[in-house]
Amino acid sequence: MSTILTYIAISDGKLKRSSLEVLSHCKSLADAAGASCEAVVIDANASSFIEGIQKYGASKVHVVEDPIFKNHMNTPLLKALSKVMSSINPSVFAFASTEGTKDVLGALAANQNAAVIADVASFKLIDGGVTAKRPVMAAKIMNNTEAKSDKVLVSVRSGSYDLNESPESAEVVNIDFSMDDSEMKSTLREIISASGDTIDLNEAEAIVAAGRGVKDEDGKALISELASVLKAGIGASRALTESGVYDPSLQIGQTGKVVSPQLYIAVGISGAIQHVAGMANSKVIVAINKDPDAPIFEVADYGIVGDLYKVLPPFIEEIKKIKS
C-alpha cells in the first residue's frame, strides 16, 4: 500500500494549523485512494504534539525528537527529513508552505531524487503522480502542474484546505536521530524576534493590514486599536516593512506571507499585484483608502473611500459597540 506522508510543522512551540490543513486533505486523498495516511513531526518536544496530530486521522505518527530542533536550522532538518523519507518511502510527502519548509524543500527533493511542486493552492493524485494548481505570474493566473514520479514532494499555501477532524488512534513510531556538531554546516548565532505577543498571520481569523497611508504614531495607534478590538493580527505592506515602521515578519504579499483570514482590512494600501498576491484569498476584504481609483477596491468586498484618520475612529467605535 502506498503512503501519503504529511510533515507537521511546529512554530514557536505550537502546531502550525496550516500543516493540519494539509494533513486533513491528505487523509481524504488517502482514504479515496486506499493509501495509508501518515504524519511526521520533528521538534525538540515532538512527542508533546502527538495527541494534537492524532485528531486529524493519521494512522501512524512518526516522531523525531532531539534538542537540536529547538530552533529552525536547515542542516539537521534536512538530515531528519531525508532519513524519514528513506525509511517510510512515501509516494507523496506534503508540507505546509512555511518559511521553514521553503528553506529545505528543494534540497530534500535533490537529496531524495524526488519530483517537487512548491506552493500550490490545491493538489490531487493522478495515475503515477500528482497534479496541482499553482498561482503564477504574481498570482494573476493559475497553472496546472503535473509531477509524474513515484516520489513527489508538494507544499501547500496556508488556508487552502479546511481542518477536518477524524480521530484515529494513530500508532506512534519513534525515529532515532543524532547529529554530530561536526556535521553542522552553519551556525545559528541568534534569533531576532518581533517584540511582544504577535498573532501568527497564517492562523489569524482576522488581519488588519497597514500601508503607506499610515504615516505616523497616531496612525499606528489606530491600527493597533482596531486589531485589538477585532482580536486580529497586524500585517503590513512592503512600503511599511521596508521603512521599518513594522516588523519585516508582518509583510503580506509575494515576498512576504500568503494569508487567508475570514476578515482582511487593508488600511492605506494601494493594492499592488504583489500585495494582492498574498491576501486575495481572504474571505471578506475591507479596504480603506482615500483614492477612489486605488486598485485595492477591485478585490475589496467593502470599500471605504476616505481618509483613514477620519474613518478609523468611528469605525473602531462602532465595532466596539457591536461587540459589547
Binding site: 524543500l105 528543494g106 493566473i141 497553472n143 548565532r189 476578515l263 481618509d307
Partner: protein, 247 residues
C-alpha cells in the same frame, strides 16, 4: 524570465504573452546588488551566470551595467521544458569545478514563485546555504546572513564557499547609469553550451510539467462607500456584522 507586468492572455489553456519582454528577476537583481555592495566593501569579483535562450543576453547586460565584472551565458534553445530541478542541475554542473566564495541566487522566480533552485544547487554541491536572506555581512571570512524566518529573523553564519538565496527586502537594486551601460558593452560574456558541461542530458528532463493555464476564479469587486467619513465607517461596520457575519 518573462515580464510579469506584460499583458497576458489565456487561450484554450495556453498562456499567450509577449515572449520578447524578458527581464531580470527582481530577486536576482537584489542578489546582484548585494554582491556589488560586498565587493565594494571587501574586494573581489562579481560574476553572473544565466541559463537562457539567445535573447537572455539583454538581461545579462543589465547585470553587467549594474556593475558585475563578467558573465557566463549558458545557452538554452528556449524550447526545452526545464523545471527548477533541471536548472539546478545545469548550474551545479557549471559550478562544480569553479572557485567561488558565495553563490547568490534569487529566493524565487517572480513568474513562478517556485523558490527551489537555490537549495537544490546547494544540495548538489554539498554547500552550506541559507534562504530568504534580508541582509548579508562578511565577518572573519564567513558570511553572516540575516534570514527572514516564519516569525523572527535568524542570524546565520556560513563558512565559504556557500550559497544564499536573496529576498528583495535586502536592498534597492541600483538602476544602471549611462556610464554603466556603456561599460557593460565592453565586458566579456562567456558563452557555454549545456552539452559541454558533462551532464547526461536525459537527467535534465523535467519531473514536473505545466499542462495548462487558467484564469483565477475572479473576486467580484464589492461596493464602494463614499461620503461623510463618520457615516460610511459606521455603515460598513454594521454590514460586517449583519451582512458579512465576520464580527
Amino acid at each position: 524570465m518573462p515580464d510579469v507586468y506584460a499583458p497576458l492572455q489565456i487561450k484554450e489553456g495556453e498562456l499567450i504573452m509577449d515572449a520578447d519582454r524578458m527581464v531580470l528577476n527582481a530577486y536576482d537583481a537584489s542578489a546582484v546588488e548585494e554582491a556589488l555592495v560586498l565587493k565594494e566593501k571587501h574586494g573581489g569579483e562579481v560574476e553572473v551566470v544565466c541559463i537562457g535562450p539567445a535573447k537572455a543576453s539583454e538581461t545579462i547586460r543589465k547585470a553587467l551595467a549594474m556593475g558585475a565584472d563578467k558573465a557566463t551565458h549558458i545557452i538554452a534553445s528556449g524550447d526545452e521544458e526545464y523545471d527548477s530541478a533541471s536548472y539546478a542541475k545545469i548550474l551545479s554542473a557549471f559550478f562544480k569545478d569553479k572557485e567561488y566564495d558565495v553563490i547568490g541566487l534569487g529566493k524565487q522566480s517572480q513568474d513562478t514563485d517556485s523558490g527551489l533552485t537555490g537549495s537544490m544547487v546547494a544540495e548538489h554541491l554539498s554547500l552550506p546555504y541559507t534562504t530568504n536572506a534580508v541582509g548579508l555581512e562578511v565577518e572573519n571570512g564567513n558570511l553572516v546572513v540575516k534570514r527572514q524566518g516564519d516569525s523572527g529573523q535568524e542570524m546565520i553564519e556560513l563558512p565559504t564557499p556557500c550559497a544564499v538565496t536573496c529576498s528583495n527586502d535586502m536592498n534597492d537594486p541600483r538602476i544602471p547609469n549611462l556610464k554603466g551601460i556603456m561599460a557593460s558593452k565592453r565586458k566579456p560574456i562567456d558563452q557555454v553550451e549545456i552539452s559541454s558541461l558533462g551532464i547526461d542530458e536525459t537527467e535534465l528532463q523535467a519531473d514536473t510539467k505545466v499542462t495548462s493555464y487558467e484564469e483565477k476564479p475572479a473576486r467580484q469587486a464589492g461596493k464602494k462607500y463614499e461620503g461623510e467619513a463618520e457615516e460610511v465607517a459606521r455603515e460598513v461596520a454594521q454590514l460586517l456584522d449583519t451582512e458579512a457575519n465576520v464580527l
